[in-house]
Protein backbone atom coordinates (compact mmCIF):
# COMPACT_ATOMS: atom_id res chain seq x y z
CA UNK A 1 0.00 0.00 0.00
CA UNK A 2 1.47 3.40 -0.94
CA UNK A 3 1.75 6.24 1.58
CA UNK A 4 -0.83 8.29 -0.32
CA UNK A 5 -3.34 5.42 -0.09
CA UNK A 6 -2.73 5.15 3.66
CA UNK A 7 -3.11 8.90 4.09
CA UNK A 8 -6.38 8.85 2.14
CA UNK A 9 -7.66 5.94 4.22
CA UNK A 10 -6.84 7.83 7.44
CA UNK A 11 -8.46 10.93 5.95
CA UNK A 12 -11.64 8.97 5.24
CA UNK A 13 -11.83 7.87 8.88
CA UNK A 14 -11.29 11.43 10.10
CA UNK A 15 -14.07 12.72 7.84
CA UNK A 16 -16.39 9.86 8.85
CA UNK A 17 -15.77 10.73 12.53
CA UNK A 18 -16.45 14.43 11.88
CA UNK A 19 -19.69 13.67 10.03
CA UNK A 20 -20.86 11.46 12.91
CA UNK A 21 -19.94 14.26 15.32
CA UNK A 22 -21.96 16.75 13.25
CA UNK A 23 -24.94 14.41 13.27
CA UNK A 24 -24.70 14.05 17.06
CA UNK A 25 -24.37 17.82 17.52
CA UNK A 26 -27.33 18.25 15.17
CA UNK A 27 -29.59 16.59 17.77
CA UNK A 28 -29.10 19.46 20.24
CA UNK A 29 -31.49 18.39 22.98
CA UNK A 30 -29.58 20.70 25.33
CA UNK A 31 -30.89 23.84 23.54
CA UNK A 32 -34.40 22.47 22.96
CA UNK A 33 -36.19 24.84 25.35
CA UNK A 34 -33.45 27.47 25.74
CA UNK A 35 -34.78 30.92 24.76
CA UNK A 36 -31.43 32.77 24.94
CA UNK A 37 -30.92 35.32 22.17
CA UNK A 38 -27.35 35.34 20.82
CA UNK A 39 -26.23 38.91 19.90
CA UNK A 40 -29.63 39.97 21.19
CA UNK A 41 -31.57 38.76 18.16
CA UNK A 42 -30.62 35.20 17.16
CA UNK A 43 -32.42 32.39 19.05
CA UNK A 44 -29.71 30.07 20.34
CA UNK A 45 -31.27 26.98 18.69
CA UNK A 46 -31.11 28.70 15.30
CA UNK A 47 -27.60 30.05 15.97
CA UNK A 48 -26.41 26.56 16.90
CA UNK A 49 -27.74 25.07 13.67
CA UNK A 50 -26.28 27.90 11.59
CA UNK A 51 -22.95 26.96 13.21
CA UNK A 52 -23.64 23.31 12.23
CA UNK A 53 -23.99 24.51 8.61
CA UNK A 54 -20.63 26.29 8.85
CA UNK A 55 -19.13 23.21 10.54
CA UNK A 56 -20.45 21.05 7.70
CA UNK A 57 -18.84 23.32 5.15
CA UNK A 58 -15.50 23.20 6.97
CA UNK A 59 -15.72 19.40 7.28
CA UNK A 60 -16.33 19.04 3.54
CA UNK A 61 -13.53 21.49 2.81
CA UNK A 62 -11.21 19.24 4.83
CA UNK A 63 -12.61 16.20 3.01
CA UNK A 64 -11.58 17.62 -0.35
CA UNK A 65 -8.02 17.86 0.95
CA UNK A 66 -7.49 14.67 2.97
CA UNK A 67 -10.13 12.23 1.72
CA UNK A 68 -11.06 13.06 -1.86
CA UNK A 69 -12.34 9.76 -3.30
CA UNK A 70 -10.59 10.07 -6.68
CA UNK A 71 -6.96 10.87 -7.38
CA UNK A 72 -6.30 14.22 -9.06
CA UNK A 73 -4.93 12.26 -11.99
CA UNK A 74 -8.39 10.97 -12.98
CA UNK A 75 -8.85 12.22 -16.49
CA UNK A 76 -11.98 13.49 -18.22
CA UNK A 77 -12.94 9.92 -19.11
CA UNK A 78 -12.94 8.77 -15.51
CA UNK A 79 -9.67 6.84 -15.91
CA UNK A 80 -6.53 7.18 -13.82
CA UNK A 81 -3.60 8.41 -15.88
CA UNK A 82 -0.89 5.85 -16.65
CA UNK A 83 1.75 7.47 -14.36
CA UNK A 84 -0.56 7.18 -11.36
CA UNK A 85 -1.40 3.57 -12.20
CA UNK A 86 2.28 2.74 -12.49
CA UNK A 87 2.98 4.33 -9.10
CA UNK A 88 0.32 2.28 -7.34
Amino acid sequence: MTSSTTQKSNGMWIIAALVVLLLILHQDNWFWTDDTLVFGFMPIGLFWHACISIGASLTWALATVIAWPLPDEVDENGDVSSTEEAAS
Partner: protein
Protein backbone atom coordinates in the same frame (compact mmCIF):
# COMPACT_ATOMS: atom_id res chain seq x y z
CA UNK B 1 -46.73 52.76 -12.74
CA UNK B 2 -48.79 53.35 -9.62
CA UNK B 3 -51.49 50.96 -10.78
CA UNK B 4 -51.70 48.05 -8.29
CA UNK B 5 -49.90 44.96 -9.54
CA UNK B 6 -48.48 46.65 -12.64
CA UNK B 7 -44.87 47.26 -11.48
CA UNK B 8 -44.74 43.66 -10.25
CA UNK B 9 -46.04 42.37 -13.58
CA UNK B 10 -43.51 44.44 -15.54
CA UNK B 11 -40.60 43.20 -13.41
CA UNK B 12 -41.75 39.58 -13.80
CA UNK B 13 -42.01 40.01 -17.58
CA UNK B 14 -38.55 41.63 -17.81
CA UNK B 15 -37.10 38.78 -15.76
CA UNK B 16 -38.74 36.11 -17.92
CA UNK B 17 -37.50 37.94 -21.03
CA UNK B 18 -33.95 37.85 -19.64
CA UNK B 19 -34.21 34.13 -19.06
CA UNK B 20 -35.41 33.53 -22.61
CA UNK B 21 -32.53 35.58 -23.93
CA UNK B 22 -30.06 33.59 -21.85
CA UNK B 23 -31.52 30.25 -22.98
CA UNK B 24 -31.48 31.25 -26.62
CA UNK B 25 -27.92 32.61 -26.33
CA UNK B 26 -26.73 29.32 -24.86
CA UNK B 27 -28.23 27.48 -27.83
CA UNK B 28 -25.71 29.24 -30.08
CA UNK B 29 -23.03 27.06 -28.46
CA UNK B 30 -25.03 23.88 -29.13
CA UNK B 31 -22.93 21.32 -31.00
CA UNK B 32 -25.89 19.31 -32.29
CA UNK B 33 -25.00 16.10 -30.44
CA UNK B 34 -27.02 14.16 -27.90
CA UNK B 35 -24.15 14.42 -25.40
CA UNK B 36 -24.12 18.19 -25.74
CA UNK B 37 -27.89 18.50 -25.41
CA UNK B 38 -28.26 16.18 -22.41
CA UNK B 39 -25.07 16.85 -20.43
CA UNK B 40 -23.50 19.96 -22.02
CA UNK B 41 -20.60 17.83 -23.34
CA UNK B 42 -19.36 17.42 -19.73
CA UNK B 43 -18.01 20.97 -19.89
CA UNK B 44 -19.42 22.55 -16.72
CA UNK B 45 -16.90 24.03 -14.29
CA UNK B 46 -17.05 24.37 -10.46
CA UNK B 47 -18.98 27.64 -10.18
CA UNK B 48 -21.72 26.71 -12.66
CA UNK B 49 -21.99 23.23 -11.11
CA UNK B 50 -22.37 24.73 -7.63
CA UNK B 51 -25.07 27.14 -8.77
CA UNK B 52 -26.97 24.58 -10.83
CA UNK B 53 -26.90 21.90 -8.10
CA UNK B 54 -27.95 24.40 -5.44
CA UNK B 55 -30.65 25.94 -7.65
CA UNK B 56 -32.00 22.50 -8.51
CA UNK B 57 -32.23 21.30 -4.89
CA UNK B 58 -33.76 24.55 -3.62
CA UNK B 59 -37.36 24.92 -4.73
CA UNK B 60 -39.82 27.69 -3.92
CA UNK B 61 -39.99 26.03 -0.52
CA UNK B 62 -36.59 27.54 0.29
CA UNK B 63 -38.11 31.03 0.29
CA UNK B 64 -41.84 30.87 0.93
CA UNK B 65 -42.01 27.43 2.59
CA UNK B 66 -39.18 28.11 5.03
CA UNK B 67 -40.73 31.34 6.31
CA UNK B 68 -44.18 29.72 6.35
CA UNK B 69 -43.00 26.68 8.30
CA UNK B 70 -41.06 28.89 10.74
CA UNK B 71 -44.24 30.92 11.25
CA UNK B 72 -46.08 27.70 12.08
CA UNK B 73 -43.44 25.63 13.89
CA UNK B 74 -40.76 28.10 15.04
CA UNK B 75 -36.98 27.96 14.60
CA UNK B 76 -36.88 24.13 14.66
CA UNK B 77 -37.56 23.98 10.91
CA UNK B 78 -34.01 25.15 10.23
CA UNK B 79 -32.48 22.12 11.96
CA UNK B 80 -35.11 19.80 10.55
CA UNK B 81 -34.78 20.88 6.91
CA UNK B 82 -31.74 23.10 6.39
CA UNK B 83 -28.74 22.20 8.57
CA UNK B 84 -29.52 18.49 8.05
CA UNK B 85 -29.49 19.07 4.27
CA UNK B 86 -26.18 20.90 4.57
CA UNK B 87 -24.58 17.79 6.02
CA UNK B 88 -26.39 15.12 3.99
CA UNK B 89 -26.54 16.77 0.54
CA UNK B 90 -22.80 17.34 0.47
CA UNK B 91 -22.32 13.79 1.79
CA UNK B 92 -24.31 12.53 -1.22
CA UNK B 93 -22.30 14.68 -3.66
CA UNK B 94 -19.12 13.35 -2.05
CA UNK B 95 -19.98 9.66 -1.72
CA UNK B 96 -22.35 9.15 -4.65
CA UNK B 97 -21.86 12.04 -7.08
CA UNK B 98 -18.10 11.81 -7.57
CA UNK B 99 -18.14 8.04 -7.96
CA UNK B 100 -21.05 7.85 -10.41
CA UNK B 101 -19.42 10.65 -12.38
CA UNK B 102 -16.32 8.45 -12.77
CA UNK B 103 -18.29 5.40 -13.93
CA UNK B 104 -20.56 7.45 -16.14
CA UNK B 105 -17.63 9.07 -17.92
CA UNK B 106 -15.85 5.77 -18.31
CA UNK B 107 -18.87 3.80 -19.53
CA UNK B 108 -20.82 6.67 -21.18
CA UNK B 109 -23.94 6.86 -18.98
CA UNK B 110 -26.29 9.81 -18.84
CA UNK B 111 -29.07 8.42 -16.65
CA UNK B 112 -29.26 6.36 -13.47
CA UNK B 113 -31.07 3.57 -15.30
CA UNK B 114 -28.17 3.11 -17.75
CA UNK B 115 -25.83 2.77 -14.76
CA UNK B 116 -28.01 0.26 -12.87
CA UNK B 117 -28.66 -1.87 -15.96
CA UNK B 118 -24.96 -2.16 -16.64
CA UNK B 119 -23.79 -2.57 -13.03
CA UNK B 120 -26.31 -5.31 -12.23
CA UNK B 121 -26.54 -6.98 -15.68
CA UNK B 122 -30.29 -6.60 -15.52
CA UNK B 123 -32.58 -5.10 -18.11
CA UNK B 124 -35.60 -5.52 -15.84
CA UNK B 125 -34.26 -3.10 -13.20
CA UNK B 126 -34.58 -0.34 -15.80
CA UNK B 127 -38.19 -1.24 -16.49
CA UNK B 128 -38.89 -1.25 -12.76
CA UNK B 129 -37.11 2.01 -11.96
CA UNK B 130 -38.46 3.95 -14.92
CA UNK B 131 -42.10 4.36 -13.73
CA UNK B 132 -40.98 4.80 -10.11
CA UNK B 133 -38.57 7.65 -10.88
CA UNK B 134 -41.00 9.37 -13.23
CA UNK B 135 -43.89 8.81 -10.77
CA UNK B 136 -41.91 10.42 -7.92
CA UNK B 137 -40.75 13.39 -10.02
CA UNK B 138 -44.16 14.30 -11.48
CA UNK B 139 -45.79 15.47 -8.19
CA UNK B 140 -42.62 17.48 -7.55
CA UNK B 141 -43.07 19.10 -10.99
CA UNK B 142 -46.73 19.77 -10.27
CA UNK B 143 -45.85 21.57 -7.04
CA UNK B 144 -43.57 23.92 -9.01
CA UNK B 145 -46.07 24.60 -11.79
CA UNK B 146 -48.99 25.25 -9.40
CA UNK B 147 -46.84 27.40 -7.07
CA UNK B 148 -45.70 29.61 -9.94
CA UNK B 149 -49.31 30.42 -10.88
CA UNK B 150 -50.23 31.14 -7.26
CA UNK B 151 -47.21 33.39 -6.67
CA UNK B 152 -47.83 35.45 -9.80
CA UNK B 153 -51.51 35.85 -8.89
CA UNK B 154 -50.85 36.97 -5.30
CA UNK B 155 -48.10 39.44 -6.22
CA UNK B 156 -50.04 41.02 -9.10
CA UNK B 157 -53.32 41.27 -7.14
CA UNK B 158 -55.26 44.43 -7.95
CA UNK B 159 -54.01 44.55 -11.55
CA UNK B 160 -57.37 44.06 -13.28
CA UNK B 161 -60.16 43.55 -10.70
CA UNK B 162 -62.84 44.34 -13.28
CA UNK B 163 -61.76 41.68 -15.73
CA UNK B 164 -63.87 38.59 -15.07
CA UNK B 165 -60.97 36.27 -15.86
CA UNK B 166 -58.81 37.97 -13.17
CA UNK B 167 -61.36 37.85 -10.38
CA UNK B 168 -60.84 35.50 -7.42
CA UNK B 169 -63.68 34.42 -5.16
CA UNK B 170 -64.08 32.22 -2.12
CA UNK B 171 -66.41 29.20 -2.54
CA UNK B 172 -69.21 31.26 -0.95
CA UNK B 173 -68.83 34.04 -3.56
CA UNK B 174 -66.84 36.72 -1.68
CA UNK B 175 -63.82 38.29 -3.41
CA UNK B 176 -60.43 37.19 -2.03
CA UNK B 177 -58.77 40.58 -1.50
CA UNK B 178 -55.21 39.18 -1.43
CA UNK B 179 -55.68 37.62 -4.89
CA UNK B 180 -58.47 39.51 -6.66
CA UNK B 181 -57.45 41.16 -9.92
CA UNK B 182 -54.17 39.26 -10.12
CA UNK B 183 -53.07 37.27 -13.18
CA UNK B 184 -55.12 34.03 -13.00
CA UNK B 185 -53.08 30.96 -11.94
CA UNK B 186 -53.78 29.04 -15.17
CA UNK B 187 -52.24 31.89 -17.18
CA UNK B 188 -49.29 32.45 -14.83
CA UNK B 189 -48.46 28.71 -14.81
CA UNK B 190 -48.82 28.57 -18.60
CA UNK B 191 -46.38 31.46 -19.11
CA UNK B 192 -43.84 29.87 -16.75
CA UNK B 193 -44.17 26.47 -18.49
CA UNK B 194 -43.65 28.09 -21.90
CA UNK B 195 -40.60 30.09 -20.76
CA UNK B 196 -38.96 27.02 -19.18
CA UNK B 197 -39.86 24.92 -22.22
CA UNK B 198 -38.27 27.44 -24.61
CA UNK B 199 -34.94 27.67 -22.85
CA UNK B 200 -34.74 23.95 -22.13
CA UNK B 201 -35.84 23.09 -25.69
CA UNK B 202 -33.26 25.31 -27.36
CA UNK B 203 -30.50 25.39 -24.77
CA UNK B 204 -30.65 21.80 -23.45
CA UNK B 205 -28.46 21.18 -20.41
CA UNK B 206 -26.22 24.18 -21.16
CA UNK B 207 -29.23 26.53 -21.26
CA UNK B 208 -30.59 24.91 -18.10
CA UNK B 209 -27.28 25.35 -16.27
CA UNK B 210 -26.86 28.97 -17.31
CA UNK B 211 -30.47 29.77 -16.40
CA UNK B 212 -30.07 27.97 -13.05
CA UNK B 213 -26.99 30.03 -12.27
CA UNK B 214 -28.76 33.30 -12.99
CA UNK B 215 -31.83 32.19 -11.03
CA UNK B 216 -29.79 31.06 -8.02
CA UNK B 217 -27.97 34.41 -7.88
CA UNK B 218 -31.33 36.20 -8.17
CA UNK B 219 -33.10 34.36 -5.37
CA UNK B 220 -30.13 34.44 -3.00
CA UNK B 221 -29.62 38.20 -3.35
CA UNK B 222 -33.32 39.00 -3.20
CA UNK B 223 -33.79 36.84 -0.11
CA UNK B 224 -31.17 38.84 1.79
CA UNK B 225 -32.47 42.21 0.52
CA UNK B 226 -36.03 41.28 1.50
CA UNK B 227 -34.82 40.32 4.97
CA UNK B 228 -33.10 43.69 5.43
CA UNK B 229 -36.06 45.75 4.24
CA UNK B 230 -38.63 43.81 6.29
CA UNK B 231 -36.43 44.02 9.41
CA UNK B 232 -36.10 47.80 8.97
CA UNK B 233 -39.82 48.37 8.45
CA UNK B 234 -41.14 46.04 11.15
CA UNK B 235 -38.61 46.90 13.86
CA UNK B 236 -39.34 50.63 13.82
CA UNK B 237 -35.93 51.43 15.42
CA UNK B 238 -32.83 53.24 14.20
CA UNK B 239 -30.21 50.88 12.81
CA UNK B 240 -30.33 47.24 11.75
CA UNK B 241 -29.16 45.75 15.05
CA UNK B 242 -31.72 47.72 17.07
CA UNK B 243 -34.43 46.50 14.71
CA UNK B 244 -33.27 42.90 14.94
CA UNK B 245 -33.20 43.09 18.75
CA UNK B 246 -36.68 44.60 18.93
CA UNK B 247 -38.12 41.99 16.59
CA UNK B 248 -36.52 39.06 18.43
CA UNK B 249 -37.88 40.34 21.77
CA UNK B 250 -41.39 40.41 20.28
CA UNK B 251 -41.47 36.71 19.32
CA UNK B 252 -43.33 34.28 21.64
CA UNK B 253 -41.17 31.76 23.52
CA UNK B 254 -42.55 28.70 21.72
CA UNK B 255 -41.29 30.04 18.37
CA UNK B 256 -37.72 30.80 19.48
CA UNK B 257 -37.40 27.37 21.08
CA UNK B 258 -38.55 23.90 20.01
CA UNK B 259 -40.69 23.19 23.04
CA UNK B 260 -43.58 22.00 20.83
CA UNK B 261 -41.47 19.89 18.46
CA UNK B 262 -40.98 16.12 18.80
CA UNK B 263 -37.30 15.24 19.31
CA UNK B 264 -37.61 11.86 17.62
CA UNK B 265 -39.41 13.33 14.62
CA UNK B 266 -36.64 15.93 14.36
CA UNK B 267 -34.03 13.16 14.53
CA UNK B 268 -35.65 10.89 11.95
CA UNK B 269 -36.12 13.81 9.55
CA UNK B 270 -32.35 13.46 8.98
CA UNK B 271 -33.09 10.62 6.54
CA UNK B 272 -35.17 12.80 4.17
CA UNK B 273 -32.23 14.66 2.55
CA UNK B 274 -30.76 11.29 1.48
CA UNK B 275 -33.27 11.63 -1.37
CA UNK B 276 -30.65 13.76 -3.14
CA UNK B 277 -28.63 10.59 -3.75
CA UNK B 278 -31.40 9.22 -5.97
CA UNK B 279 -32.84 12.34 -7.65
CA UNK B 280 -32.62 11.59 -11.40
CA UNK B 281 -32.30 15.28 -12.28
CA UNK B 282 -29.33 15.72 -9.94
CA UNK B 283 -27.71 12.60 -11.38
CA UNK B 284 -27.87 14.24 -14.79
CA UNK B 285 -26.38 17.47 -13.42
CA UNK B 286 -23.51 15.50 -11.89
CA UNK B 287 -22.77 14.17 -15.37
CA UNK B 288 -22.18 17.71 -16.65
CA UNK B 289 -19.05 18.16 -14.48
CA UNK B 290 -15.86 18.75 -16.41
CA UNK B 291 -13.78 16.69 -13.97
CA UNK B 292 -14.04 14.98 -10.59
CA UNK B 293 -12.38 17.99 -8.99
CA UNK B 294 -15.26 20.16 -10.25
CA UNK B 295 -17.32 18.66 -7.41
CA UNK B 296 -15.11 20.19 -4.72
CA UNK B 297 -16.65 23.68 -4.75
CA UNK B 298 -20.29 22.42 -4.60
CA UNK B 299 -19.41 19.96 -1.81
CA UNK B 300 -17.86 22.75 0.29
CA UNK B 301 -20.24 25.64 -0.44
CA UNK B 302 -23.62 23.89 -0.46
CA UNK B 303 -24.17 24.00 3.36
CA UNK B 304 -23.20 27.70 3.53
CA UNK B 305 -25.50 28.56 0.63
CA UNK B 306 -28.38 26.81 2.39
CA UNK B 307 -27.63 28.88 5.49
CA UNK B 308 -27.56 32.16 3.52
CA UNK B 309 -31.03 31.49 2.10
CA UNK B 310 -32.70 29.83 5.08
CA UNK B 311 -31.60 31.81 8.16
CA UNK B 312 -33.13 35.14 6.98
CA UNK B 313 -36.35 33.41 5.87
CA UNK B 314 -36.73 31.56 9.19
CA UNK B 315 -36.20 34.80 11.13
CA UNK B 316 -38.81 36.60 9.02
CA UNK B 317 -41.20 33.69 9.63
CA UNK B 318 -40.89 33.86 13.44
CA UNK B 319 -41.11 37.67 13.46
CA UNK B 320 -44.54 37.31 11.86
CA UNK B 321 -45.70 35.60 15.08
CA UNK B 322 -44.57 38.56 17.22
CA UNK B 323 -46.49 41.57 18.46
CA UNK B 324 -44.66 44.07 16.22
CA UNK B 325 -46.69 42.87 13.25
CA UNK B 326 -49.38 45.49 12.48
CA UNK B 327 -52.91 44.33 13.30
CA UNK B 328 -54.16 45.50 9.89
CA UNK B 329 -54.34 44.07 7.37
CA UNK B 330 -54.72 40.70 9.17
CA UNK B 331 -52.15 37.99 8.51
CA UNK B 332 -53.21 35.39 5.92
CA UNK B 333 -54.30 31.99 7.21
CA UNK B 334 -52.06 30.07 4.79
CA UNK B 335 -48.50 30.04 6.25
CA UNK B 336 -46.98 29.76 2.76
CA UNK B 337 -48.24 33.23 1.91
CA UNK B 338 -46.60 34.91 4.93
CA UNK B 339 -43.49 36.06 3.05
CA UNK B 340 -45.35 37.44 -0.02
CA UNK B 341 -47.81 39.09 2.38
CA UNK B 342 -45.05 40.81 4.37
CA UNK B 343 -43.32 41.90 1.19
CA UNK B 344 -46.55 43.35 -0.11
CA UNK B 345 -47.53 45.15 3.07
CA UNK B 346 -44.10 46.19 4.37
CA UNK B 347 -42.09 46.95 1.25
CA UNK B 348 -42.51 48.81 -2.02
CA UNK B 349 -43.97 47.59 -5.30
CA UNK B 350 -40.58 47.27 -6.94
CA UNK B 351 -39.24 44.98 -4.22
CA UNK B 352 -42.52 43.05 -4.44
CA UNK B 353 -41.91 42.53 -8.15
CA UNK B 354 -38.29 41.58 -7.55
CA UNK B 355 -39.27 39.09 -4.87
CA UNK B 356 -41.82 37.58 -7.24
CA UNK B 357 -38.98 37.15 -9.73
CA UNK B 358 -36.86 35.60 -6.94
CA UNK B 359 -39.54 33.07 -5.99
CA UNK B 360 -40.17 32.21 -9.64
CA UNK B 361 -36.40 31.82 -10.06
CA UNK B 362 -36.34 29.26 -7.24
CA UNK B 363 -39.28 27.38 -8.81
CA UNK B 364 -37.97 27.42 -12.38
CA UNK B 365 -34.44 26.39 -11.43
CA UNK B 366 -35.88 23.04 -10.32
CA UNK B 367 -38.53 22.71 -13.05
CA UNK B 368 -36.08 23.02 -15.94
CA UNK B 369 -33.79 20.23 -14.71
CA UNK B 370 -36.73 17.95 -14.03
CA UNK B 371 -38.26 18.47 -17.48
CA UNK B 372 -34.91 17.85 -19.17
CA UNK B 373 -34.25 14.77 -17.05
CA UNK B 374 -37.59 13.13 -17.79
CA UNK B 375 -37.16 13.83 -21.51
CA UNK B 376 -33.71 12.24 -21.32
CA UNK B 377 -34.94 9.17 -19.43
CA UNK B 378 -37.69 8.57 -22.01
CA UNK B 379 -35.26 8.93 -24.90
CA UNK B 380 -32.28 6.98 -23.53
CA UNK B 381 -33.85 4.33 -21.31
CA UNK B 382 -36.97 3.50 -23.27
CA UNK B 383 -36.88 4.58 -26.88
CA UNK B 384 -33.18 4.25 -27.75
CA UNK B 385 -32.66 1.27 -25.45
CA UNK B 386 -35.40 -0.82 -27.04
CA UNK B 387 -34.99 0.45 -30.59
CA UNK B 388 -31.24 -0.19 -30.45
CA UNK B 389 -28.57 2.51 -30.32
CA UNK B 390 -27.42 1.58 -33.81
CA UNK B 391 -30.89 2.38 -35.19
CA UNK B 392 -31.13 5.91 -33.77
CA UNK B 393 -28.81 8.70 -34.87
CA UNK B 394 -27.51 11.37 -32.52
CA UNK B 395 -29.65 14.02 -34.20
CA UNK B 396 -32.73 11.82 -33.80
CA UNK B 397 -32.00 11.37 -30.09
CA UNK B 398 -31.83 15.14 -29.62
CA UNK B 399 -35.11 15.47 -31.51
CA UNK B 400 -36.80 12.75 -29.41
CA UNK B 401 -35.55 14.34 -26.16
CA UNK B 402 -37.02 17.66 -27.26
CA UNK B 403 -40.33 16.07 -28.25
CA UNK B 404 -40.55 14.21 -24.95
CA UNK B 405 -39.85 17.47 -23.08
CA UNK B 406 -42.73 19.16 -24.91
CA UNK B 407 -44.96 16.21 -24.02
CA UNK B 408 -43.98 16.26 -20.34
CA UNK B 409 -44.45 20.02 -20.04
CA UNK B 410 -47.88 19.76 -21.70
CA UNK B 411 -48.99 16.85 -19.48
CA UNK B 412 -47.73 18.53 -16.31
CA UNK B 413 -49.47 21.77 -17.21
CA UNK B 414 -52.76 19.99 -17.95
CA UNK B 415 -52.53 18.03 -14.69
CA UNK B 416 -51.92 21.29 -12.81
CA UNK B 417 -55.27 22.60 -14.06
CA UNK B 418 -57.13 19.81 -12.25
CA UNK B 419 -58.10 20.00 -8.62
CA UNK B 420 -54.73 18.86 -7.32
CA UNK B 421 -54.11 21.19 -4.37
CA UNK B 422 -53.42 18.09 -2.25
CA UNK B 423 -50.26 17.63 -4.29
CA UNK B 424 -48.49 20.04 -1.91
CA UNK B 425 -48.75 17.45 0.83
CA UNK B 426 -46.98 15.05 -1.55
CA UNK B 427 -43.65 16.86 -1.27
CA UNK B 428 -42.31 15.03 1.75
CA UNK B 429 -43.67 11.71 0.37
CA UNK B 430 -41.75 12.15 -2.90
CA UNK B 431 -38.59 12.89 -0.95
CA UNK B 432 -39.19 9.88 1.32
CA UNK B 433 -39.61 7.64 -1.74
CA UNK B 434 -36.28 8.75 -3.17
CA UNK B 435 -34.62 8.36 0.25
CA UNK B 436 -35.95 4.79 0.49
CA UNK B 437 -34.08 4.01 -2.75
CA UNK B 438 -30.81 5.42 -1.41
CA UNK B 439 -29.48 2.03 -0.16
CA UNK B 440 -29.66 0.69 -3.72
CA UNK B 441 -27.40 3.33 -5.25
CA UNK B 442 -25.04 3.26 -2.27
CA UNK B 443 -24.69 -0.53 -2.43
CA UNK B 444 -24.27 -0.45 -6.22
CA UNK B 445 -21.22 1.76 -5.74
CA UNK B 446 -19.66 0.27 -2.60
CA UNK B 447 -20.75 -3.39 -2.23
CA UNK B 448 -19.57 -6.09 -4.59
CA UNK B 449 -22.12 -8.43 -3.07
CA UNK B 450 -25.15 -6.56 -4.42
CA UNK B 451 -27.11 -8.75 -6.81
CA UNK B 452 -29.75 -7.75 -9.35
CA UNK B 453 -32.36 -9.72 -7.40
CA UNK B 454 -31.28 -7.94 -4.20
CA UNK B 455 -31.59 -4.50 -5.81
CA UNK B 456 -34.95 -5.34 -7.40
CA UNK B 457 -36.30 -6.73 -4.10
CA UNK B 458 -35.02 -3.65 -2.25
CA UNK B 459 -36.78 -1.35 -4.72
CA UNK B 460 -39.99 -3.40 -4.39
CA UNK B 461 -39.77 -3.30 -0.58
CA UNK B 462 -39.31 0.48 -0.70
CA UNK B 463 -42.31 0.94 -2.94
CA UNK B 464 -44.56 -1.50 -1.06
CA UNK B 465 -43.77 0.12 2.31
CA UNK B 466 -44.21 3.59 0.74
CA UNK B 467 -47.61 2.57 -0.66
CA UNK B 468 -48.85 1.01 2.60
CA UNK B 469 -47.87 4.05 4.66
CA UNK B 470 -49.21 6.46 2.04
CA UNK B 471 -52.54 4.59 2.09
CA UNK B 472 -52.64 4.84 5.91
CA UNK B 473 -51.96 8.57 5.72
CA UNK B 474 -54.74 8.98 3.14
CA UNK B 475 -57.12 6.97 5.34
CA UNK B 476 -56.38 9.30 8.26
CA UNK B 477 -56.62 12.36 5.98
CA UNK B 478 -53.17 13.34 7.29
CA UNK B 479 -50.85 13.33 4.27
CA UNK B 480 -48.98 16.38 5.51
CA UNK B 481 -48.72 15.48 9.18
CA UNK B 482 -48.53 11.68 9.14
CA UNK B 483 -46.00 10.18 11.57
CA UNK B 484 -45.56 6.70 13.03
CA UNK B 485 -45.82 6.28 16.78
CA UNK B 486 -43.27 4.00 18.38
CA UNK B 487 -44.24 2.78 21.87
CA UNK B 488 -41.17 2.39 24.08
CA UNK B 489 -40.94 2.21 27.86
CA UNK B 490 -44.49 3.41 28.39
CA UNK B 491 -44.01 6.42 26.10
CA UNK B 492 -44.81 7.00 22.44
CA UNK B 493 -42.15 8.42 20.12
CA UNK B 494 -43.00 10.05 16.78
CA UNK B 495 -40.91 8.91 13.84
CA UNK B 496 -41.05 9.83 10.15
CA UNK B 497 -42.42 7.13 7.79
CA UNK B 498 -39.14 7.29 5.83
CA UNK B 499 -37.48 5.24 8.61
CA UNK B 500 -39.66 2.23 7.85
CA UNK B 501 -39.33 2.65 4.07
CA UNK B 502 -35.55 2.92 4.18
CA UNK B 503 -35.14 0.07 6.68
CA UNK B 504 -37.34 -2.29 4.66
CA UNK B 505 -35.48 -1.48 1.46
CA UNK B 506 -32.07 -1.91 3.12
CA UNK B 507 -32.82 -5.19 4.92
CA UNK B 508 -34.54 -6.77 1.90
CA UNK B 509 -31.73 -5.74 -0.42
CA UNK B 510 -29.04 -7.23 1.85
CA UNK B 511 -30.86 -10.49 2.64
CA UNK B 512 -31.82 -11.23 -0.98
CA UNK B 513 -28.36 -10.27 -2.27
CA UNK B 514 -26.73 -12.71 0.15
CA UNK B 515 -28.62 -15.68 -1.29
CA UNK B 516 -28.78 -14.81 -5.01
CA UNK B 517 -26.11 -14.83 -7.75
CA UNK B 518 -23.90 -11.77 -8.14
CA UNK B 519 -23.06 -10.12 -11.46
CA UNK B 520 -20.19 -11.75 -13.39
CA UNK B 521 -16.59 -11.12 -12.38
CA UNK B 522 -16.09 -9.32 -15.68
CA UNK B 523 -18.78 -6.79 -14.78
CA UNK B 524 -17.58 -6.40 -11.19
CA UNK B 525 -14.05 -5.73 -12.45
CA UNK B 526 -15.39 -2.71 -14.33
CA UNK B 527 -16.71 -1.15 -11.12
CA UNK B 528 -14.38 -2.26 -8.29
Amino acid sequence: MNHPGLPQLIIILIYLGLLLLLGLSSSRLFKGTKEDYQVASHSIGPFLLLMSLFGTTMTAFALVGSSGEAFKEGIGVYGMLASSSGIIHSLCFFLIGVKVWKFARRHKYTTQIEFFRDRLESDFIGLLLFPILVGLVVPYLLIGVISSGTVIQSLTAGLAPNLEMFQAYTPDGNPIIALNGGVPPWLGSLVICVVVLVYVFFGGMRGTTWANTLQTIVFMILGVVTFYVIATRLGGQDGLMANLNALAESVPEEKITRMEMSKTKFFTYLLIPLSVGMFPHLFQHWMTAKSANTFKVPVICHPIFIMIVWVPCVLVGIWATGDLIPAKPPLPSNPNTILPFLVKTQTGKVLGGLLAAGILAAIMSSLDSQFLCIGTIFTNDVLTHYKGKENVTDAQQVLYTRLFIIGIVAITYLLSLGNVKSVFAMGVWCFSGFSALFPIVFAALYWRGLSAAGAISGICAAIVSWSVLFYQALEQDALRTFVLKLPLGGEEYEIMPVVVMLASSLVTMIVVSLVTPKPSEKTLARFF
